[in-house]
Amino acid sequence: MVFVSQLLGSLGRLAMFLIEEVGEMGLLAQRTAGQLFRMRPDSVAVQMIRFGIRAIPIVALVNLFVGMIVAVSMSEMLRTLGVINWTSRVVAVSVTRELAPLMTAIVMSGFAGAAIAAEIATMTVNEEILALQVGALSPVRLLVLPRMIGVCMMMMCLTLIAMVLGMLGGWIVGTVLLDIGSPTYIEANNDAVKWLDIPKGLVKAFAFGMIVTLVACRQGFKAEGGALGVGRATTSAVVISICLIIFANLCFAILFNWTLAGP
């Protein structure tokens, strides 16, 4: 009886925590949208360079390897089925529809999300956020908005790069290890990629960028307790954003594959 009571209590607290977090992030998103027309392009450009340009090497490397892994993993089964040339199709579809946006978002939750959360949490514990508020300066406009726009824009660019690099990884494995001719591989690859997959991937990338930024800013703003609080905010930002990104990816998969395409 005590166990059941404790279990229900824990579930209740978890539910309350999730509702509060989602509600607070919704409010933050609403306040950010309200400041959209007061955006400063120079601040956005700084964040795009900081979180976008500098993330290109790591995003490219990760997605190159992901494309190679998919090609290697699928090759044995495809060879058994006698359709080894389909390796390029499998890689192209999986990379453009799922893996490039997802892997880029996960990399960015560590690269940008952790940095944003640590930065804002440090500002919070050092009273810099309070100084902005009592100085009639909106932390949402000055801190959240440029980061959100910058990260969302760069997430889309990075996802495009990730798609190309993922397919390149598959091409390297296909042509070097699986002895598929380069023209054959490229032709099958181009056949497999539907033009609609790319905007779908970009929509996902934009949404994941919003998740990364909102979670990081929210965790940063609620930080307290000095260096320990900053560390806790950073860890929470990465963990929560990865969970939300994967959940959002599931929602997009249902939306794009069943709802929009029909069951």
Binding site: E128, V134, L137
Partner: protein, 299 residues
Amino acid sequence: MSDDPQNVAGHSPPRPGAPALPPSYDPAHTAYLPATNAQVVVQTENLIKRFGEKTVLNGINLTVRRGETLVIMGASGCGKSTLLRCLLGAHPPDEGSVRLFGQDMWSLMPPEMDAVRKRFGTLFQSGALFSSMTVGENVALPLKEHTDLSQDMIDLMVKVKLELVGLREAEDLLPSQISGGMAKRAGLARAIALDPELLFYDEPTSGLDPIMTGIIDGLIMDLARTMNVTSIVVTHDLKSAFRVADRMVVLNEGRVVAEGMPHEIKGHPDPFVRRFIQGPIEAKTAIYPKSALDKGPGG
């Protein structure tokens, strides 16, 4: 000027040019008493603030008039910082009201609250400079955001404000490249960037050496004298408090236990105030309530 808190000779001199001064200026204690008809700038009525079960502020009534320097003192954990945050509009009171410039802060819509906030400046304990900006950019930020001044004029204003606090040479340095005393002065330059009518100081001299403490105290007094700024100083630095105060309030366990001119506080009959002012080492546990000792420093 003596550093002895018992010596009242070092108190703020009268402010020349302020019409309310002559009838209310008290030469015996060299402290400025604003005329009773001077505009009320800050007023709290029965201010109560709780955090969970703990009542941190328990019925605070304060009135600060234009041009006055009020020092709020008290032991660590007595509610000074919470009171300051309530006055700044950072913490909503659970009961009672906070009125700045005659407006109840928590009945205002956000744009109206921002309009009130533009009329005061705040010096935070750590300076709270934005670490990604240079000292000059920190001072320029309120000017860029709240005025229509040209960039040239803003640059000039930044130089003037930094010159006022003796930091002209630090304009291009990052906060991480300057000392704690310089950070406080830079914070003060940012706080006065918009020429506020009211200035809040949170522990302006904590962690500073005596020379820097004297410089910061001098700046507080000069700003009050030259700009007729109303000042509210939260501190537990007695020397500094008696040097800058026109009037003082002593808090203990969330209540005002003493209020008056510096000489009145020195002669106050309340045992807590007497011990707080005299600070005998053997009476330490008697000065600090147990709750404050448990909570630790940070007011």
